[in-house]
């Protein structure tokens, strides 16, 4: 199982549809300051289910919709899809307990007429829920709240936090 690609539509600084294909092995992502590298990480967290709004650097889920940049109109809706490769193991089982070679996890947020946000989840195109995402992903150990995703600044945070907070980190792992 690996992450084959990230598909974003009007997510943060990504205007319109932008696809980022990933490979197996070791991939380096680079670019100037403020170019959108960490926004891709936020897009992954957005679908996997982030713990707190601080993880995606937005106080309100509507801050995640493309704000128009310099000369465009702000978007009214955004969508992110994570496409995982999910091959059959020799014993017939699959890491993600779904009988499909590719699994698409999609989350979309729309700004309603009253200005609030409505969130929808889709699994391979069929309506789903955040709960179902979490169940499927954590059984394959692809959670958002483990240390498999290390956000910018987390290394320094882990080195300088109090011993009590660090013990709490261990408790979450247990």
């Amino acid at each position: 199982m690996y992450l084959k690609r990230l598909e974003m539509e009007n997510f943060k600084s990504f205007k319109g549809e932008v696809v980022v294909p990933y490979e197996r092995g070791f991939t380096a992502i680079t670019g100037p300051n403020g170019s959108g590298k960490s926004n891709c990480g936020d897009a992954i967290q957005f679908v996997l289910g982030y713990k707190s709004a601080k993880d995606v650097r937005a106080s309100n889920v509507l801050d995640l919709l493309f704000n128009g940049g310099k000369n465009n109109k702000p978007a009214k809706y955004c969508k992110v899809t994570l496409v995982f490769d999910n091959p059959e193991d020799p014993d017939g089982s699959r890491r993600l307990k779904i009988d499909a070679d590719e699994v698409h996890f999609t989350r979309a947020v729309r700004k309603t007429r009253s200005g609030s946000a409505s969130s929808n989840y889709y699994l391979n195109g069929e309506p789903s829920s955040q709960r179902q995402f979490k169940l499927l992903l954590s059984s394959a150990n692809a959670r958002a709240d483990g240390y498999n995703i290390v956000l910018q600044g987390m290394v320094t945070e882990l080195a300088t936090m109090t011993g009590i907070s660090r013990r709490k980190v261990l408790e979450e792992v247990a």
């Binding site: 092995g25 991939t27 380096a28 992502i29 170019s35 704000n67």
Partner: protein, 170 residues
């Protein structure tokens, strides 16, 4: 609950000792629970002795780079306890010197045989070791986009080219 925490602590500590020795080229590191009888009353400290340093050194006396290497050892130790199919690291090599940045990149490369590693980095040494390269940029209009036909040479150039281009422009 206490039993679970102590079992996880023993295993993560074993991993931490191994990873820290590997990353610090022979230094010694260990995790310590302040209160073994009731771990929920105390904290968790990382004790480290980088290669060639005194064993009396406290964690708060270590340098910025040495602290980051200790924290990265803990992250790898936790990952070993609970392996995931993919990992995402966002500029974890920021305050490391060329020596340590290369050690971290080599460890990611070695582990990339059994899991997928995605690493956001600005450091040349990490760009050189990666198998694949992705470039993200914005064109001054506030819209991010992916750079097409990107590869290792263009990635290293992006960091350096900025420097050359600036020199000419000044």
């Amino acid at each position: 609950r206490k039993k679970r925490l102590l079992t996880v602590f023993k295993e993560v500590n074993k991993n931490f000792k191994n990873v820290y020795r590997l990353l610090s080229d022979g230094g010694r590191g260990e995790l310590k629970l302040e209160n073994l009888d009731n771990p929920f009353k105390g904290g968790l400290e990382m004790w480290c002795q980088p290669k060639g340093k005194s064993s009396r050194a406290k964690l708060n006396g270590l340098s910025g780079g040495e602290k980051s290497m200790a924290a990265l050892s803990l992250i790898f130790a936790i990952q070993d306890h609970d392996p995931s199919p993919f990992y995402y690291f966002d500029e974890v090599d920021q305050n490391l010197d060329a020596f340590n940045a290369e050690r971290i990149a080599r460890l990611c490369k070695a582990r990339a045989n059994s899991a997928q590693f995605l690493m956001v980095t600005l450091r040349k040494v990490s760009l050189e070791l990666a198998d694949h390269h992705i470039g993200i940029t914005h064109a001054g209009d506030g819209c991010s986009r992916r750079i097409a036909d990107f590869n290792r040479e263009r990635a290293i150039e992006l960091g350096e080219k900025e420097e050359e281009h600036r020199k000419k422009a000044l």
